[in-house]
């Protein structure tokens, strides 16, 4: 069969990104032909600013050279503009009259600088700032002329002005509004910026409207601009005029072919134009009435478009939130979201004019909705993240202004400024990845997103505490802000649905198995991946206990083998010791098992129990049978230990019997599966020997009863548990902690520890559900009791013959 023909008009960042995504999904599906009006391969347009400033060269910013097209079998026509589309015959015509057939067409024509309709705008020396040609013209002019005028005080204009100044020209920025970057900054921040730029030698004329460009007094040859005249009659010299007053989507080609355009080429959520064979993407489109002028949203569009071209037909582009940065070395500026404020918003302000720092955070309904940072933008990526997630910030509000490091989310050696790190400093402590490795991968492999970096370097792919640092490195290496994470994060690459949506559907539709759920939600892969399957399995069994089907093949090996896999493929076995209490008989049996199976190491765990290491998988059922103790679930997303202290029975300080309380809690909850591991502790007095303050649920005995703390964590990032409630009796301890755990089981995302979930929903929410609503609390507790009732002990199940046993048997050949 003949391949379908895919033609792309426009060889820029959005278009080529689409091809890259398409080649990943469906290599060889199409014969691809690309037309580009420029004489170059695809280059990183946003880096033209550093090129103009002399900080990088054209070579540095090439993304796909001509060889890349060859290697991928793409026919490339450079320097050839497409001038006509014949939709009926399905042909495009280029300037030289040649016709090319298509089955699918991508329009990725980008945009062009808007040229003010004033007399003299066609004189030599009047340029836009859009492509390599413009940059060459500016660099050439800087060698021969003195006076440059940039019209437009937006991001582009300021970057152009900065570059020309660094090239030795005398630069004036003319701006029509009251302050610079009026769409990105409030007036205070803009004034600081202007002051800093003036210190760099730039001049500004605000509230000035250009009336005409006048030619220089003739010295023969072409007519070149010589001065600029304003509507108030004043005039200044100008040998070079850069128009940076905005861009216009290149929609004329589409419009002439009868495709509906409204400023941009109008597309739907699958990036199709009104002609379904024709897709459009990038700056030339108008999506839900918005034309984007930044790379991050264009890359999201590219992903969606490629998916549909690959005939997978899943994925929608639903719009993007954007943030801006100014790429002028030495000036730190970041803005995102809505910062103009309103009736319902509150501001948190920090202004230090002497140090040149200004920060403004705009908050609405306990959520961050906008941010303007000037002078110190280290936390830009973090604020942007908070903004996109719509996370409740009431618990961190006091520290919010002081940034992520004050909230505790820093790299392992306490760094929070990636720029200050040397190349050999470790960024990701989990996978041992250094800054230099990340920078190298970004440069050599052309990475743009956090996900790319995770995949290629493994940095930030385990515990995630270095994510902020990695984002900073990405930003500083690329120079621009690309972070394209959508506002809502899907569960994994197999679906567009979020964890919350999936949970809700499982409940509403009463879905009882993984295949049923995947069918209902139109999963993209036939049977999921190693990250969604365990999550789905958990959601099913926690929502419909005793009804949904547990799928052992969708559990990680630890939960399948009911033991912890070690790096050499052997296992470790931790039997339960209720509340850390053991007996001589149990210890004797453990000793006998250790002898019989020649266990290479026996250790006491951090959770007050005994761990037998180095056991062969085949031996596990035998070990369990001989131990004859319940499973410790030390391998599972489940209740691990309930650590206890001595308590009032023996301890001279003890006010409560913490050991018994711990045993009761452990026996009540030990069979529950959870989104992640759950650890409890009970101390008998405020001396807190059981370290209850860093547990998911920590109970501390006081003279008049018990205090319950929740959301503690002693792991990668230590989190101190927050006080939930004080109760009188042991029964109440069970009910309140059980209700809390059940709420967590029902509402958290898979792999959320209690602390992560709490940070998202806020402690107030938990108080409302567990403290204020008595009937609700009792119902939660009852649901937990129902879920664990009659659950078999996983070890006992495997010691008897049958299917469960097979997991441990080795076949012979």
């Amino acid at each position: 069969m003949q391949k379908m023909k895919l033609v792309m008009v426009g060889n820029g960042m959005a278009g080529v990104r689409t091809l890259e995504e398409l080649l990943k999904l469906a290599p060889g599906l199409y014969d691809i032909t690309v037309f580009g009006a420029e004489p170059h391969g695809n280059y990183n347009r946003i880096m033209l600013s550093p090129v103009l400033a002399g900080e990088q060269t054209i070579q540095d910013i090439m993304l796909n050279d001509v060889d890349w097209y060859k290697e991928n079998g793409i026919t490339l026509h450079l320097n050839r503009k497409v001038v006509k589309i014949d939709r009926r015959a399905r042909k495009v015509y280029s300037e030289d009259g040649t016709a090319t057939d298509y089955d699918r067409l991508i329009l990725a024509t980008g945009s062009t600088p808007f040229i003010l309709p004033v007399p003299g705008n066609d004189l030599a020396g009047v340029v836009g700032f859009r492509d390599i040609h413009d940059v060459d013209a500016m660099i050439a002019a800087s060698g021969h002329y003195r006076h440059a005028v940039v019209i437009g005080g937006g991001l582009l204009g300021l970057e152009a002005a900065n570059g020309l100044k660094l090239r030795g020209m005398d630069v004036t920025v003319v701006h029509i509004a009251d302050w610079l970057l009026e769409r990105q900054l409030d007036q205070t921040a803009a004034k600081l910026l202007q002051k800093n730029l003036e210190e760099k030698g730039l001049k500004f004329l605000l509230r000035k409207q250009t009336a005409a460009l006048l030619p220089a007094t003739q010295d023969g040859g072409e007519k070149r601009v010589g001065s600029i005249k304003f509507s108030d009659g004043s005039e200044i010299p100008a040998d070079l005029v850069v128009m940076a007053v905005g861009i216009r989507p290149n929609a004329a080609l589409a419009e002439s072919a009868g495709i509906h355009c409204n400023r941009g080429i109008v597309v739907n959520d699958t990036m199709q134009t009104y002609d379904p064979r024709i897709y459009a993407i990038g700056e030339c489109v108008s999506h839900r009435g918005i034309a984007y002028g930044l790379v991050a949203p264009l890359f999201e569009m590219a992903k969606v478009c490629a998916n549909h071209l690959a005939e997978m037909g899943i994925g929608r582009y639903t719009g993007s939130l954007t943030s801006t940065k100014l790429k002028v070395t030495g000036i730190d500026l970041f803005s995102a979201g809505n910062f103009s404020g309103g009736d319902k918003t509150e501001d948190i302000l920090l202004s230090d004019p002497v140090a040149g720092v200004y920060k403004r955070l705009v908050i609405e309904d306990n959520k961050l909705v906008g941010a303007v940072l000037y002078g110190d933008t280290v936390d830009g990526a973090w604020y942007f993240q908070l903004l996109r997630e719509g996370r409740d910030i009431s618990d961190i509000r006091d520290h919010l202004m002081f940034g992520q490091s004050r909230v505790g989310d820093v790299g392992h050696q306490g760094q929070h400024k990636a720029a200050a790190m040397s190349d050999d400093m470790e960024v990701c402590g989990c996978n041992g990845v250094c800054k230099g490795t990340i920078v190298k991968a970004i440069k050599e492999k052309g990475l743009f997103t956090l996900d790319d970096v995770k995949k290629h370097t493994k940095a930030a792919s385990s515990c995630g505490s270095c994510t902020g640092l990695v984002e900073q490195i990405l930003t500083s290496t690329l120079g621009g802000d690309y972070s394209p994470a959508p506002a809502v994060k899907p569960m994994c690459g197999c679906t567009d649905h979020t964890h919350e949506e999936v949970r809700a559907v499982i409940r509403k539709q009463k879905l009882l198995s993984i295949p049923e759920t995947m069918r209902f939600l139109e999963w993209r892969t036939p049977d999921g991946c190693a990250s969604c399957r365990p999550a789905l399995n958990y959601y099913l069994i926690s929502t419909w206990p005793h009804e949904a089907k547990n799928d052992p093949q969708s559990r990680f090996i630890n939960e399948r083998a009911h033991a912890n896999i070690q790096k050499d493929g052997t296992y470790s076995v931790v039997p339960r010791m209720w509340g850390g209490v053991t007996t001589a008989a149990d210890l004797r049996r453990i000793a006998d098992v250790a002898d019989k199976y020649q266990v290479p190491m026996i250790r006491v765990t951090g959770g007050q129990r005994i761990d037998l290491f180095g056991i062969r998988k085949e031996d596990l059922p035998g070990v369990w049978a001989d131990l004859d103790m319940p499973s410790g679930h030390a391998y599972g997303k489940a209740l691990r230990t309930v650590k206890t202290c001595v308590g009032s029975e023996f301890c001279r300080f003890g006010t409560q019997n913490s050991t018994q309380m711990g045993i009761d809690l452990e026996q009540a909850f030990y069979k529950m599966w959870a989104p992640h591991k759950v650890k409890l502790a009970v101390s008998g007095c405020p001396r807190n020997c059981a370290e209850a303050a860093i547990k998911d649920v920590g109970v501390i005995g006081v003279d008049s009863g018990w205090e319950i703390y929740v959301g503690g964590n002693g792991g990668i990032k230590t989190e101190v548990a927050e006080f939930l409630v004080k109760v009188k009796t042991a029964e109440e301890v069970l009910e309140y902690s059980g209700a809390f755990l059940q709420l967590y089981r029902e509402e958290a995302r898979y792999l959320d520890r209690t602390v992560h979930w709490l940070q998202r929903v806020g402690l107030d929410y938990v108080r409302k559900r567990v403290l204020d609503d008595e009937a609700g609390r009792k119902a939660l507790y009852a649901r937990l009791m129902y879920a664990v009732q009659g659950e078999p002990d996983p070890w006992r199940e495997c010691t008897t013959e049958g299917e469960a046993r097979r997991e441990f048997e080795v076949l012979e050949a």
Partner: protein, 102 residues
């Protein structure tokens, strides 16, 4: 020798599941996909030697239990961006019985 050796009944491998096979010193991992296709790989991840038989079978690859590399069941190759390869063994199913060539 290219002789087919009988291993077990198809039903003894769970769908989307794995079994370990031992032959002398050789450790082999058997896989059964959702679609009932059978594959065999050396039970050794190209990354750090993790046992692939402990992984999770998704589509036509297995995700290693130790560090989540994805290994193709048909060709034994690690999915990009990781690089590596583990040997494959020919297998067939005949009347519900699984055979392998070593």
């Amino acid at each position: 020798m290219t002789e087919w050796i009988e291993i077990c009944a198809l039903e003894e491998i769970p769908r989307q599941g794995t079994r370990k096979v031992k032959s002398g010193d050789a450790h082999i991992a058997l896989f059964r996909t959702q679609e009932d296709e059978i594959f065999a790989l050396a039970d050794r991840c190209p990354h750090k030697g993790g046992p692939l038989s402990e992984g999770m079978v998704c589509g036509k690859h297995v995700t290693c239990a130790l560090h989540s590399w994805n290994i193709g069941l048909a060709d034994g190759k690690a999915a990009a961006p990781d690089v590596g390869e583990t040997p494959t063994y020919p297998v067939k199913v005949d009347a519900g019985v699984v055979f392998i060539q070593l």
